[in-house]
């Protein structure tokens, strides 16, 4: 009986308190900003913009349960009850955003003087964009305010990670995108149980995968020997340059797969792949290999053709008259 009447009351206020007795549930969704305040004599209306509540939304709780003990007249008490917003932002155009913003400002005031790390060392984070934020909060957020907010977020993000308070971390969490593209973990590279090191290399539009194992200097590329696969000696030298420049020819066997592009691209893709695989076997060779020009991926590609041009840059012949 009691519970049913309670439900009736909360339904009347469109509240969202679904709790069982003795347990405070966090209120969510759009009704959580309302709380039911007992009209106790002497109670003041909360009008300050400073809310005494902590910024943590999980800790926003509904008002004390309405006492429906038989002593007091339920109807009487109910008649005195009235909804009061949890946050004064309720009366603004974008209450949730404003609450977050205010919380951030408070944090910035508190922790703004903590030591920071230079921007170059900060971990890359994909922040939510204005559109993302609008969608997730369902509010019409102004771009200028969002920009100010994001600046604050980024400032707080540069606090030294060892000193960063938990509150800050938690406050920044909702500003991050759900999928973090920068958070790709590097694959563990190493020699597998058969003694092979595997690496990939690219050049122009060729892709090479190379497996390197200690051996007698045999090379198989797409199941052909080196001279069968590369007719040009220059290309053969290119392909094995990492081994050649470190005097490792004859000490490793190479098994490789190459695809795409032409002979030069394939040979130099192999250079990179074999160099990377060699560095797995022998990390100390990296400086030598870098000087041999084997470590850097050559980023040059064929320039795309443009509209209105015959080739990438060539214009159609044109005479004024």
């Amino acid at each position: 009986m009691a519970s049913s009447s309670r439900q009736a009351v909360t339904a009347a206020f469109r509240g969202a308190c679904r709790s069982s007795r003795g347990q405070w549930q966090p209120l969510n969704q759009q009704f959580q900003a309302l709380r039911i305040q007992d009209s106790v004599p002497g109670a003041t209306r909360c009008i300050s913009t400073e809310i005494e509540q902590p910024t943590d939304y999980n800790s926003i709780r509904a008002a004390a349960e309405i006492d429906l003990t038989p002593g007091a007249s339920a109807v009487e008490r109910l008649a005195n009850a009235r909804p009061v917003p949890v946050s004064p932002s309720y009366f603004t155009r974008m209450p949730k955003f404003n609450d977050r913003f205010l919380a951030l400002e408070r944090l910035a005031r508190t922790y703004g003087n903590l030591p920071r790390i230079p921007n170059s060392h900060v971990q890359h984070v994909a922040w939510q964009t204005l559109e993302d934020m609008k969608l997730s909060l369902g509010e019409r957020i102004k771009s200028t305010e969002f920009a100010r907010c994001l600046a604050l977020v980024k400032k707080l993000h540069t606090i030294h990670p060892k000193l960063k308070p938990r509150a800050v971390k938690e406050a920044l969490q909702p500003f991050k995108k759900e999928v973090q593209p920068f958070k790709v973990e590097k694959k563990e590279v190493g020699v597998d149980k058969y003694g092979r090191a595997h690496a990939a290399g690219k050049r122009k539009s060729s892709v090479a995968l190379a497996w390197l194992v200690e051996g007698t200097g045999e090379v198989l590329i797409n199941s052909k020997t080196l001279p069968e696969y590369f007719g040009r000696v220059h290309d053969r030298e290119s392909a094995l340059w990492a081994l050649h420049s470190t005097d490792r020819l004859g000490k490793y066997n190479v098994w490789a797969r190459v695809s795409g592009g032409g002979t030069t691209g394939q040979a130099e893709a192999l250079t990179l792949a074999i160099a990377k695989a060699l560095m797995v076997h022998e990390p100390a060779l990296k400086p030598a290999l870098r000087r041999a020009g084997c470590v850097t991926r050559d980023p040059r590609k064929v320039e795309r053709k443009k509209a209105g041009h015959v080739k990438a840059r060539k214009s159609p012949t044109w005479v004024k008259r």
Binding site: R232, S238, S245, R248, E282, A288, R291
Partner: protein, 292 residues
């Protein structure tokens, strides 16, 4: 395990008296001697016996069973720790990749300049090859270049014409065929012009260009010289047929240059003569305010 052709492998069985070492590079070698298993190191943990077994099976499939090497005992963690302690006693950083990150020694840095794969050929050879190239066919140009060098190598030693002296410091003519790259360099550098004639349009009055000598740097000089050689070559008829004829003609012209028979020498003299003649224009009043 593949057979090691390393002399160091012979010393593996020897015990090493530890001795304080001063230089890390020596220490690296010492570590190499201490290691019983060449395949084991921190970077690549491939010391299980499974690896050896599989590799051996593969080698047998290839039909090349290596000489039996005493099976390296797997190094226990304790031993490794002891070894690291020992290294620390030498004053080494036990995690230094210079010490541990290699199997056959690290090449001395900086490595030789021709060990960079972008600069693997001699500079003159590289430049001349690019000048030989037509329609972007670099592979053909390189084959031509190789044939030119072979032709220079297999033709008789040139007879130097004293009236057309080679560049000072060039080797004796009998030496030239043994070093075809040097041969080519000597030929090109000998006929390379020192200057070119630069023209300033309409400055000489009457719409004529004002000519001034301008110095050339080494690469430019070689380009001019080889351009002249190519001009001559393209006009010569070939005596045979087939793809070896163009390089033959180029090589013959290079020999002709060294022997002083080539018309390229005249071009060089011409441009030098003209350069000295137009030197008067350097201080011409018309050149006032013009940056050289």
């Amino acid at each position: 395990m593949p057979p090691r052709l390393n002399i160091l492998s012979g010393f593996r069985a020897l015990s090493i008296q530890p001795r304080p070492l001063a230089q890390p590079c020596v220490a690296a070698q010492a570590r190499r001697l201490l290691a019983t298993d060449t395949t084991s190191n921190n970077a690549s943990q491939i010391q299980d016996n499974n690896f050896n077994g599989v590799l051996r099976a593969k080698m047998e499939a290839f039909g090349q069973v290596p000489q039996e090497e005493p099976a390296p005992p797997a190094m226990s963690e304790n031993e490794m720790a002891l070894k690291q302690l020992q290294e620390a006693a030498y004053g080494l950083n036990t995690y230094d990749p210079e010490v541990h990150g290699h199997k056959f020694g690290v090449p001395a840095l900086p490595i030789a300049p021709d060990m960079n794969h972008k600069r693997r050929y001699d500079t003159v050879v590289e430049q001349v090859t690019k000048l030989l190239m037509r329609d972007g066919k670099l592979a053909k140009a390189q084959r031509d270049m190789a044939m030119i060098l072979n032709h220079l190598r297999s033709s008789p030693a040139p007879k130097i014409n004293p009236a057309k002296p080679l560049i000072p410091g060039s080797p004796a003519p009998e030496q030239l065929p043994l070093d075809p790259v040097g041969y080519l360099t000597v030929a090109i550098d000998s006929v390379a012009p020192l200057i070119k004639i630069r023209k300033y349009a309409k400055l000489a009055g009457g719409g004529r260009a004002l000519e001034l000598p301008a110095p050339l740097h080494l690469r430019q000089r070689r380009r001019w010289a080889f351009g002249w050689i190519l001009d001559v070559v393209n006009k010569k008829p070939s005596r045979g047929s087939g793809r070896g004829m163009f390089p033959t003609r180029v090589a013959e012209e290079i020999i002709a240059v060294v022997e002083g028979r080539s018309s390229v020498w005249e071009k060089r003299n011409e441009i030098h003569k003209k350069g000295t003649a137009v030197r008067a224009n350097v201080f011409s009043s018309r050149m006032k305010g013009i940056k050289l």
